[in-house]
């Protein structure tokens, strides 16, 4: 085989086959008659089909009404399900059958001859245009806007300022909350007890056995102002790990208590609650985008799109053996944001 191009590979543009300057509108093709146009039996059949579809719709409506009166939603799961199913089927048959009947009727029985309606020119004729300009000019002259300068200034000012009553509140609402520091802090403070989510009872260190997982909120959370927002920032996941597998950075040695570690439950990727804790691997999986954190190794990212470890809550125990926070988190919780420094 040779790689030389042969004449068959080349498209020849000679004078005869050159592309035209402008394609002609090919217009409509020849009209093709439908079976029903020539065969009365076929037309009759189509008619019967359309009638059957409308009939189906009537049946659907009757079925809906029967279901409404005979099968009331009695409050049990089975009753509500059956009622929903029958009402839905009836409604579907009633509406959908009308739709397909109308389309089938139009397609098979109504005229299908193609018609062309050319657009009329949009430009008005010269006399109309001149008359319109004359009316405008007369109006401007009558208002005297050309010679009354103060009036002109007043109307321009009023019209220009009026939108401010819409724009100022709109922009004001957008810019109403510039308190960025609230993203840096949660309600955790020194000595605040760790409590169970959702019932709010404090947790003793002795209750957290190896392999356990506790979903934690600050004690007395519901007394906070905007407590749901505060909960969204302060939720913590706490586990107790075998000291043999727990790796801790030297500066964080005293942030845990006998293998009990507490980390923010808010993913550093986009802020989903990370709570799928796999006890055997100590991995914590985020259900949204599969970021995976190693609870035994500072909650560092081992898989997925998150790029920072979960912030750790320093904890200790009080005199009665209850777990308490040593302080707030030492870094902002949750995903990155503009003002976050790192």
């Amino acid at each position: 085989m040779s790689n030389e191009p042969t004449s068959a590979d080349l498209t020849v543009h000679d004078g005869e086959h050159a592309l035209p300057e402008r394609f002609e509108d090919p217009g409509l093709g020849p009209h093709v008659a439908r079976v029903g146009d020539t065969d009365p039996a076929a037309a009759k059949r189509s008619e019967r089909q359309v009638v059957a579809m409308f009939g189906l719709s009537v049946l659907g409506t009757v079925g809906f009404l029967v279901a409404y009166f005979v099968v009331p939603a009695d409050g049990t799961v089975e009753g509500v399900r059956l009622s929903n199913l029958l009402l839905g089927l009836g409604l579907f048959l009633a509406m959908f059958s009308i739709g397909i009947a109308a389309v089938h009727w139009a397609k098979t029985l109504m005229s299908d001859h193609e018609r062309v309606e050319a657009r009329h020119p949009q430009r008005s004729d010269a006399a109309t245009r001149e008359a319109a300009v004359a009316v405008l000019q007369e109006g401007a002259k009558d208002s005297g806007i050309g010679r009354r300068g103060v009036l002109k200034g007043a109307v321009v000012s009023a019209v220009a300022l009026a939108p401010l009553s819409i724009a100022v509140p709109l922009i004001g609402e957008v810019g109403g909350d510039w308190n960025v520091s609230k993203f840096r802090h949660t309600v955790w403070t020194k000595g605040r007890k760790l409590a169970r989510d959702p019932n709010g009872t404090p947790i003793k260190a002795s209750e957290v056995t190896v392999g356990s997982v506790f979903h934690v909120i600050p004690e007395g959370l519901e007394e906070e102002e905007h407590w749901i927002e505060e909960k969204a920032k302060a939720v913590v996941l706490m586990v107790r790990l075998d000291p043999a597998v727990l790796k801790e950075a030297p500066e964080r040695k005293d942030w845990s208590y006998e293998g009990i570690v507490a980390y923010s439950k808010i993913c550093t990727h986009v802020g989903c609650p990370v709570a799928l804790y796999e006890q055997q691997t100590h991995h914590l999986l985020c259900p949204c985008h599969q970021s995976t954190f190693d609870m035994a190794d500072g909650a560092k990212v081992v898989f997925g799109p998150a790029n920072r470890a979960l912030p750790q809550l320093p904890i200790t125990v009080d005199d009665e053996g209850y777990l308490v926070a040593q302080s707030d988190f030492h870094e902002p919780i949750g995903p990155s944001y503009w003002e976050r420094l790192k």
């Binding site: 093709v32 439908r34 079976v35 029903g36 049990t76 799961v77 089975e78 509500v80 399900r81 929903n84 199913l85 839905g88 389309v103 397609k107 098979t108 299908d112 169970r196 989510d197 959702p198 003793k204 002795s206 209750e207 957290v208 056995t209 190896v210 392999g211 356990s212 997982v213 506790f214 979903h215 586990v239 609650p273 709570a275 799928l276 804790y277 796999e278 006890q279 055997q280 691997t281 991995h283 999986l285 259900p287 599969q290 995976t292 898989f303």
Partner: protein
């Protein structure tokens, strides 16, 4: 016999007969009924039978004295609850290695499971199999169960306990086929990837409420099919493939010329 017959009209005869009948009933009951004591504390013979079953079915992996080895957990101190959960759901004895032990038809019958649990419980104290009262949901509060389930369980098992995916081929199983005892045992012992929810974390009442919440889900969805109740993936697939597909099909039909 003549002497007895002569005294059958004695005025103490009914009392004596009644006393004899009561004694007889008591003796028959004691001989036939399973005593509460033997159910709570398994006999030596149960433990021996359990050890034989252990050596035959479990010792290959868990070791002859249940000490475990690398990658296989020790069974000392896991308690009867862990054995009953793993064996009654068919997860153990394990059929093959994989991301996690799969549930399958139980390999040992109830009696053998009880004996095996008795043997493992005799090695060291551990969580016991919950009693019938502990899993009785007659007075339970399913609303509290829902709150507890939502915080502690729903992230893995899904909003109504139909299961969900974990990492690397592991998954949280569907809970609709689990018995109340198995659900209780799983919370108590934390099988495989699942963490432990001890009695101090979720109180026995909380656990009972969770079971009641799961029982309420057995009635199904009032809105019709729930598409597996596994969340937006199944629902999105249905809408985008079936729903949009139907719309496209109808559009093509409306636009096509009739023959």
């Amino acid at each position: 016999m003549k002497a007895i017959a002569a005294r059958r009209h004695h005025r103490f005869a009914p009392a004596v007969l009644l006393a004899l009948a009561l004694l007889l009933t008591g003796a028959v009951y004691a001989a036939l009924a399973p005593s509460a004591a033997s159910a709570a504390a398994p006999s030596e013979s149960d433990i021996e039978a359990g050890e034989a079953l252990f050596q035959a079915n479990c010792a290959t992996c868990h070791g002859p004295s249940a000490e475990g080895r690398d990658g296989v957990p020790s069974l000392i101190g896991v308690g009867a609850a862990a054995v009953d959960f793993q064996v009654s759901t068919g997860r153990m004895p394990m059929q093959m290695n994989g991301p996690q032990a799969m549930a399958k038809p139980p390999q040992l019958d109830e009696e053998q499971t009880r004996q095996l649990a008795a043997y493992v419980a005799s090695l060291a104290p551990g969580p016991a199999i919950p009693t019938a009262e502990q899993v009785d949901t007659t007075d339970a509060d399913p609303a509290n169960g829902m709150a507890v389930f939502r915080t502690n369980c729903a992230m893995c098992h899904g909003a109504i306990g139909k299961g969900g995916a974990l990492s690397e081929g592991k998954f949280a199983p569907d809970l609709s086929g689990s018995t109340p005892t198995q659900v209780y045992e799983a919370m108590l012992t934390g099988p495989q990837s699942m963490p432990v929810f001890n009695e101090a974390n979720l109180s026995p009442e909380d656990k009972r409420d969770v079971i009641a919440f799961l029982e309420e889900q057995q009635a199904g969805s009032p809105g019709g099919t729930d598409l597996g109740a596994v969340g937006p993936v199944a629902e999105g697939l249905w809408v985008w493939v079936v729903g949009i597909g139907l719309l496209i099909g109808l559009s093509v039909w409306i636009g096509a010329k009739s023959s």
